[in-house]
Symmetry: C2
Subunit: 228 residues, 2 copies
DNA sequence: CTTTATTTTTAGATTTGTCTAAATTTGAAT
DNA sequence: ATTCAAATTTAGACAAATCTAAAAATAAAG
């Protein structure tokens, strides 16, 4: 559990890029593209990160993350996505505007800041784009659920959970009966405001605002009878 | 109105230091001390800033801000102090913990971010330390008022204003009659929770929480009869 | 008005991260 | 197997910000 030496912003950006692209390895050119630099610069940085034990690297063969590199990348992504939630939910930025700002804020180094920001935001599991936010211990929320506002009309789904644990949201979902395990079919998306109309098997109909739909995580079901 | 070229974090830190220490000029050693570096480094930086027209500099004679340097410094200080308010009021950091974090956050470059942060915080005029926050146009709130929680027992004062414009605060102050222009004498500070007991000339007594006292700006009056 | 001490500046080197241009390795095609 | 193109790495240089050590200017003391 040796505290990982502090990384520079640039090192963190390269780590994020390797994390995003390596399956399980990524070439120097593709990496350089991602971080907006030249292949020669990427080579230099890869070698630095390899010396620190964060990536495994074989000359001319590409680069991938080591276990400790994966932990470090998750920490950066956690910071990035928590700031995105803050920018969108508290400051009212649109979901398309938050990425670049979070890119800068994510490099502020303070575990306590992130701990408190997380609590202030009610420990969200997903960012405004619906991407999962790594937990403080480095584990990831299951990606099994997709946001309900990504479900297409006609599609059936089972409720998997909520994207955060605001009391207001959980109370509301409980009151209308949209709780984990229940199954629904999306019958309409109101064009004007994105309101979702859903029905359960016994015919009960329910309207859910676009805002609420964004915070409900669901698992899509087979369109027709699964086993017939 | 040429948009001032973007400054590096380091340049901004030097500017802040010159602003804080120059009256009207500051020596190289003192400046180097303030930004935790050596005199030779400070000399280099001073020359860069002089070329950009932000400081006026004469070799061996010290350095001071130009008008445009003062504007740039105010912008940095504005960002710094707004983040301090955020950290203290929204994330619950103690007033002594916020400075170092704000030191990092202040360098995130985005006028829109600061605009929205300012609105989110209800356009505060003073930071958690009671220092004035420069306005978006670069002007400064009057420093005439001090925070009421800095007034000593027995001292009389006239209410000058509120440190921010939250509706809740203004409503409350209006309801209890603690409005700008009224005069009071502080008769007690409850040791347990810092509650202030104040009285006006007609003998009316009022208790004000430490939190509220921190948001009221006052001008101390002469202890006894001003002209007798 | 010298001498000395302090302050400030210059000179040259270092680190991080970048670049261009040249050299090397890989792998694909004939 | 050889050739050729693409990908990758090295070599050398540069800008920002810093340092140490040496030189220069100022200020203070006798």
């Amino acid at each position: 559990m040796n505290a990982p030496a502090l990384l520079t912003s640039t090192e963190e950006n390269y780590l994020k890029a390797v994390f995003a692209l390596a399956q399980p390895r990524i070439g120097t050119n593709a990496l350089a593209d991602r971080v907006q630099t030249k292949a020669s610069s990427a080579t230099d940085m890869i070698q630095r990160l390899a010396e620190k034990g964060l990536v495994e690297y074989e000359r001319y063969r590409g680069v991938g993350l080591t276990p400790s590199g994966r932990v470090a990348a998750a920490a950066v992504i956690r910071r990035h996505r928590l700031w995105e939630v803050f920018l969108a939910e508290k400051l009212g930025f649109g979901w398309h505007e938050v990425h670049d700002l979070a890119e800068e804020l994510e490099h502020v180094q303070s575990p306590e800041l992130i701990r408190r920001l997380d609590a202030f935001l009610n420990t969200p599991s997903y960012d405004p784009h619906g991407d999962p936010i790594p937990r403080a211990d480095g584990t990831w929320p299951s990606e099994a659920g997709i946001r309900m506002d990504h479900v297409a009309v006609g599609q059936s789904f089972r409720v998997a959970g909520a994207a955060d644990r605001t009391d207001e949201l959980l109370d509301y979902l409980h009151r209308v009966g949209m709780v984990p395990g229940t199954e629904w079919t999306l019958s309409e998306i109101v064009p004007f405001d994105g309101t979702r109309t859903v029905q359960n098997r016994s015919g009960r109909t329910l309207d859910l605002s676009a805002l609420a739909a964004r915070h409900v995580l669901v698992q899509p079901q087979e369109p027709q009878t699964p086993n017939a």
